[in-house]
C-alpha cells in the first residue's frame, strides 16, 4: 500500500511538473532574470569585452527586453548557441529569446514553429577575399574553395548562386565563425562567405583588415531578427514592441540622453507622451508592462540608432554603414506601426 501511494505521488509530481505552464513573462519575473540565447562570438553582435561582459548589437537587444520587463537592463543571463543548436536550445526553454543574427525564413517560421517577431538588421550574404587574389566580382570565383559557416541559410544560397551562374566551387563547411576564420587565414579556402555583417565583423578582428575586401555582390536576402517560442502571444508582443520602441525612439528623436527630461514634461507630439507613459497607451496592461517600459529601454540601452552606432557604426572597427537599416523616412526599410 505504501509503495503504491509513493508511486502515485511520484507520477503525479512528474505530470504536474510537465503540465503546468506559466506564461513566459511570469517565468521571467519570478526568476528575476531574462535568459537570452546569443552567438558564440561575433564582433559587434555578441562578443565578450576585455572584462568578460557580453557586448554587441544582439546583446543590447536582450538588455532592452530585460529593461522593458524587469526594469533593469543588467538582469540578463546569456547562453551561447551555434547555428546548429540555436533552435533546439530555444525550443528546450534554455532561453526566452533567441537574439543571434537569425534569418527569418518561411520554413523556420512555419515548419519549426518558431515566432519571428520582427527584423532588427537587414542583411545579405556576401563574399570576403584577400585583396592579393585580384578578384573583383563574385562572378570570378569559378573553381574557388569556399569556407562556409554551416548551420545557416548560407549553404543553400551559395549552392543556388553558383548553379545559377554555372560555376563550380569546393565547399569547406565549418561549424563556428572562429574556426572558419582560421582556415581562411591559413589559405585553406580562397573565399569566406556568410552574412555581410558577419564578414565585416570578422574582418575587423584581423591583424590587417585592409588586406581583405568584401565583394560587391550580395547574393541573398537575410532579414535577421529576434525569435521566440511559438504559442505565447503576449511574450511575442512584448519582444516585438521592444524592438519597435527602440525604432520609435529614433523616429521621435528620443535618445538615452534626453529621454528622462522628455518623460517628465508634456510634449507637443502626443506620440512621445504615449510612448514614454505620460499619456495612457491603450492595452499596455495586457502586455503586463508598466508605464515606464519604453523609458527604461531607451534610458538604459538607447534607441535603435544609438545601439547601431555603438556596436556596428562608423566609430567602431566594423564601420558598417546604416544602408537598408535606416528609418523609412531616411531611405531605409524600417516603417513601424504608430504608437497609439
Amino acid at each position: 500500500m505504501k509503495t503504491k501511494m509513493l508511486l502515485a505521488a511520484t507520477t503525479a509530481g512528474v505530470m504536474l511538473a510537465g503540465s503546468v505552464l506559466a506564461s513566459t513573462l511570469d517565468d521571467v519575473r519570478a526568476r528575476g532574470k531574462l535568459n537570452c540565447i546569443i552567438n558564440t562570438g561575433l564582433a559587434g553582435f555578441a562578443a565578450p569585452d576585455d572584462k568578460g561582459n557580453w557586448t554587441g548589437f544582439d546583446v543590447d537587444f536582450c538588455k532592452a527586453v530585460a529593461a522593458a520587463t524587469l526594469g533593469d537592463s543588467s538582469k540578463v543571463s546569456y547562453t551561447t548557441a551555434t547555428g546548429k543548436t540555436r533552435f533546439t536550445k530555444l525550443a528546450a526553454g534554455e532561453g526566452e529569446i533567441l537574439s543571434r543574427n537569425t534569418t527569418w525564413t518561411f520554413s523556420r517560421d512555419v515548419d519549426l514553429s518558431q515566432t519571428f517577431v520582427g527584423v532588427s538588421y537587414y542583411d545579405g550574404q556576401g563574399f570576403m577575399v584577400p585583396k592579393k587574389l585580384g578578384v573583383k566580382s563574385a562572378k570570378d570565383l569559378d573553381g574557388a574553395s569556399v569556407c562556409i559557416q554551416t548551420g545557416t541559410t548560407t549553404e543553400l544560397n551559395l549552392a543556388e548562386y553558383f548553379s545559377a551562374n554555372k560555376m563550380k566551387y569546393n565547399p569547406v563547411p565549418i561549424e563556428t565563425n572562429s574556426e572558419a576564420q582560421e582556415l581562411y587565414k591559413a589559405g585553406r579556402c580562397d573565399v569566406y562567405t556568410t552574412d555581410a555583417s558577419g564578414l565585416y565583423a570578422t574582418m575587423s578582428s584581423f591583424d590587417n583588415p585592409n588586406d581583405h575586401m568584401v565583394l560587391p555582390e550580395i547574393v541573398s536576402k537575410e532579414p535577421l531578427g529576434p525569435v521566440v517560442r511559438h504559442g505565447d502571444d503576449q511574450w511575442a508582443d512584448i519582444v516585438a514592441w521592444t524592438l519597435r520602441a527602440m525604432l520609435a525612439g529614433e523616429e521621435l528623436g528620443i535618445t538615452s540622453a534626453n529621454v528622462k527630461s522628455l518623460a517628465g514634461k508634456d510634449n507637443k507630439n502626443k506620440e512621445i507622451n504615449r510612448l514614454l507613459g505620460k499619456d495612457p497607451l491603450q492595452g499596455l496592461s495586457k502586455l503586463g508592462l508598466s508605464a515606464d517600459w519604453a523609458v527604461n529601454i531607451i534610458s538604459q540601452v538607447g534607441n535603435y540608432a544609438e545601439v547601431f552606432e555603438n556596436n556596428l557604426g562608423m566609430s567602431t572597427p566594423l564601420k558598417i554603414a546604416r544602408g537598408a537599416n535606416q528609418l523609412h523616412r531616411d531611405g531605409g526599410l524600417y516603417y513601424i506601426p504608430p504608437i497609439k
Binding site: G83, G143, G151, P173, L183, G187, R188
Partner: protein, 387 residues
C-alpha cells in the same frame, strides 16, 4: 499466505520475480520517456515525420563516392556522408592496424632505444584526446603545406598543397575488359596455387615462395593484357586552373588529417593489445620454435602471432568500433561524414533534430554491430577449439 511466503523463499522463483519487476520498471521508464517526447512535441506544435528525407537537400558536398549534386535528396546526402564515414574508417583501420602491430612488437624489442621510443609513442598518443589529434593534424597540413600556386610538384603529374594531394586519375577506354579478365584469371590462379603449395608442403615439406609468385602473376597478367589490347587506360592529369587544381583524383586535407589522427591514436591502443597478446603466449613456445632453428621473423609470424591472435582479436574489435565512432568528430574540421551531412546540415535546413538524430544513431548502431559480427566470425575461426 504461507504459499506466497514459500515462493519468495524459493531461490529460483525469487529470481524470476525480481527479473519481472526490473523488466516492468524498465518498460515503464521507456514508455514514460516516449510519451514525454510525444507530449512535448505536441506542446511545441511539432510532429514526427520522415518526409524531409525525400526533398532536395540544396547543399553541396565536397567529397562524394557516388554521384551527388545539390538537387539530390537529403537521403542521398546522408548516404554520401555514410560512405565518407566508411572511407575514413577503412583507411583509419588499415593504418591503425599496421602501425599498432608494428609498434606493439617494437615495444617488446630487446633494443633499449626502439623499445623506449615505442613506449613514449604509446604513452603520449593515447593520453591526448582524439579531438586534439584531429585538430593538430589538420592544422599542420593546412598551415605547413604551400598554396596551390606553389604546390610541391611530383614530376608534373602529382601535386601536394594545402588543398589536398592530387594524383592522376586513370580513365578506361575500349578494350579494358581484357585487362579485367586477366586480372580475375590471375586471382583464380593465385588461390589454386596457394592451395596446391600448401598441400605439397603438408605432404613433402617442400616450400614454394607462394607470396612472390602470386604477386608477380597478379601484376604481370593484366600488364600483358594491357599492352596486348593497345594500352586502353589513359591518365587524367591534374592541372592548376584558376584557384585550384582541376581533374585527376585528390585526397582532401580533411580526409588526410582525419585518417592520420584516427590511425595514429588508435594504433597506440592496438600496440598495447598486441603486446599483451604476445606476452600471453607461453615463452616455451618461442624457445621451442627457436630451438628447431626458425629465424626470428618466422618465429614471430608462424608461432607467436597465430597464438597471440586469439587474445588480440576481441579487444581489437572494440578498437575498430571506437575508431569508426570517433570518426564522427570529423565535423570539427569540416570533413563531410554522416554526422556533418544528415546529422548536421540536413538537420539545420529541415529542423528535424529528433528524426535525423534517430536515423544517425541507428546507422552507427548497425555499422558497429556489423563490424562486431564480422570480428566475432573471425574470432570463432581462429580461437582454440576445445577438445
Amino acid at each position: 499466505m504461507t504459499y506466497l511466503h514459500n515462493i519468495w523463499r524459493n531461490e529460483k522463483s525469487r529470481e524470476i520475480i525480481i527479473q519481472i519487476f526490473v523488466l516492468l520498471c524498465i518498460g515503464w521508464l521507456l514508455s514514460w520517456l516516449i510519451s514525454n517526447v510525444d507530449a512535448n512535441f505536441k506542446a511545441l506544435g511539432k510532429d514526427i515525420s520522415f518526409e524531409f528525407l525525400f526533398i532536395p537537400a540544396g547543399y553541396d558536398i565536397n567529397q562524394y563516392l557516388i554521384d551527388y549534386n545539390n538537387r539530390d535528396s537529403h537521403l542521398r546526402a546522408g548516404i554520401v556522408g555514410l560512405l565518407n564515414t566508411g572511407l575514413v574508417a577503412f583507411f583509419g583501420i588499415i593504418l591503425a592496424t599496421f602501425l599498432g602491430v608494428t609498434i606493439g612488437i617494437i615495444r617488446l624489442s630487446k633494443n633499449w632505444l626502439a623499445s623506449k621510443i615505442a613506449y613514449w609513442y604509446v604513452e603520449f598518443t593515447r593520453n591526448v584526446p582524439i579531438l586534439l589529434h584531429i585538430l593538430l593534424w589538420h592544422g599542420i597540413i593546412i598551415n605547413t603545406l604551400p598554396h596551390p600556386k606553389k604546390a610541391i610538384n611530383f614530376a608534373d603529374v602529382s601535386f601536394l598543397s594545402n588543398r589536398g594531394f592530387y594524383i592522376p586519375k586513370p580513365l578506361t577506354e575500349n578494350g579494358i575488359e581484357l585487362v579485367y579478365l586477366f586480372f580475375v584469371i590471375g586471382i583464380i590462379f593465385s588461390i589454386l596455387f596457394f592451395k596446391y603449395a600448401k598441400k605439397k608442403q603438408d605432404l613433402t615439406g617442400v616450400q614454394y615462395p607462394v607470396f612472390w609468385i602470386n604477386l608477380s602473376v597478379i601484376i604481370t597478367l593484366p600488364l600483358i593484357a594491357f599492352f596486348l589490347s593497345g594500352m586502353p587506360i589513359s591518365l587524367e592529369i591534374p592541372v592548376l586552373k584558376g584557384f585550384n587544381f582541376r581533374g585527376g583524383m585528390y585526397m582532401s586535407p580533411e580526409l588526410a588529417a582525419l585518417t592520420f589522427a584516427l590511425g595514429i591514436y588508435t594504433a597506440a591502443f592496438i600496440a598495447e593489445i598486441v603486446r599483451a597478446g604476445i606476452l600471453a603466449v607461453d615463452k616455451g613456445q618461442k624457445e621451442a620454435a627457436e630451438s628447431i632453428g626458425l629465424r626470428p621473423s618466422k618465429v614471430m609470424n608462424l608461432v607467436i602471432l597465430p597464438q597471440a591472435r586469439r587474445v588480440i582479436i576481441p579487444p581489437l574489435t572494440s578498437q575498430y568500433l571506437n575508431l569508426t565512432k570517433n570518426s564522427s568528430l570529423a565535423i570539427a574540421i569540416g570533413y563531410m561524414d554522416l554526422v556533418a551531412t544528415l546529422g548536421g546540415i540536413s538537420l539545420n535546413q529541415t529542423g528535424r533534430e529528433m528524426e535525423t538524430m534517430v536515423i544517425v544513431m541507428l546507422i552507427y548502431l548497425s555499422v558497429s554491430l556489423s563490424i562486431s559480427a564480422f570480428m566475432n566470425w573471425y574470432n570463432n575461426r581462429v580461437k582454440l577449439v576445445g577438445r
